[in-house]
Subunit: 204 residues, 2 copies
């Protein structure tokens, strides 16, 4: 069958890059309407394919969500790496830059962040996601290691120190994503937040 039956822009039966198209569309509705509004069938309709077509690329709805999450980590890691492009700056500036990048991501992709940290993944994707998380933490690990070497950060288990910093920022991100904290406000006070984190809440 040649293509082009005249009127309704007949796609060439094989979409060409359906998987990517589905992910794009899914990311869009995820951002605009939240994860609850994501349906494979509507996704298929929006993309102009039949309701079973997505099944060829994602064995499950969960598989699609996992792929979205994985893609989210890619972008987050990219953002973090870009933000920490000046390893010679003083500690507080580096940390603030990382924090700004992370919270910026959270502000612009709240539903995606929710997905990324949801605790429901196909067992075989779990390790992929785990390494993605590790790469995110990697930016902080690197920062802490550098700073410890220069004596800018307290000695001690670097993992624990990284966790303190990362948990603090993740908490902010989660509060923003959950609308429990105003995004503008959080971003405005970020530098002071980082300062308190580095210098402690107790008077010196």
């Amino acid at each position: 069958m040649m293509r082009m039956s005249p009127s309704p822009a007949s796609r060439p039966y094989h979409h060409g890059d359906l998987r990517a198209a589905l992910l794009r569309s899914a990311e869009r509705t995820l951002r605009e309407k939240g994860v609850g509004a994501l349906s494979l069938r509507e996704l298929a309709r929006d993309t102009g394919v039949s309701h079973a077509a997505p099944g060829r690329h994602f064995k499950d709805k969960q598989a699609l969500l996992d792929a979205l999450a994985l893609d989210g980590y890619e972008r987050l890691n990219q953002a973090l790496a870009t933000a920490d492009a000046h390893p010679d700056r003083p500690l507080e500036q580096r940390m603030a830059a990382l924090a700004r990048a992370y919270l910026g991501f959270a502000v612009e992709n709240p539903a995606l962040l929710e997905l990324m940290f949801a605790r429901k993944h196909e067992p075989d994707r779990t390790d992929q996601l785990a390494t993605a998380v590790d790469r995110s933490l990697g930016s902080f690990t690197q920062l802490v290691a550098d700073a410890q070497e220069r004596g800018e950060i307290v000695p001690g288990d670097p993992e624990r120190i990284t966790l303190v910093a990362a948990a603090s920022l993740h908490g902010l991100a989660a509060l923003i994503a959950g609308c429990a904290l105003d995004a503008e406000e959080a971003l405005a006070g970020l530098d002071e937040h980082v300062h308190l984190l580095l210098h402690g809440l107790r008077p010196r």
Copy 2:
């Protein structure tokens, strides 16, 4: 009509306290199988009522989830209040006690916590939930206020300082709930975490 037709434990048509029974059952399956496995119909089956009965008590599935979240805040606030029953103790002990209570709750109710901080609530329940959140934060606010008065905590906007502490713990809780962090490990290192939070990451 008289109750007790002999064989199939015929409920007295009116359950008596269906709403509470539904919440109990829902909380159970939430804990055991996660929020994704919650269905109003199955809930009705488990409780021995018809599939439309829950609709009399919760206009929506979301309304049920909101009620669960609200109940979660009740229990969390109770736990926090109990944990902070010794306001005369030194700051670090008080903070550690609060942290332990919060993380304990997170460890034992991960799915519920996820629900509590999810960003999808009926508009009219939003304010109820907001005040519940405020009451949770209240424990920390009080702690910070007391400590500032005694000079145990740096001066400055108490809200910001509370936010730094709360975000740090909330981040830990979220990581635990998301299985990104081992619960035992987090609890074991909690005291040191609090110490770092209070004393800062920079050397003194």
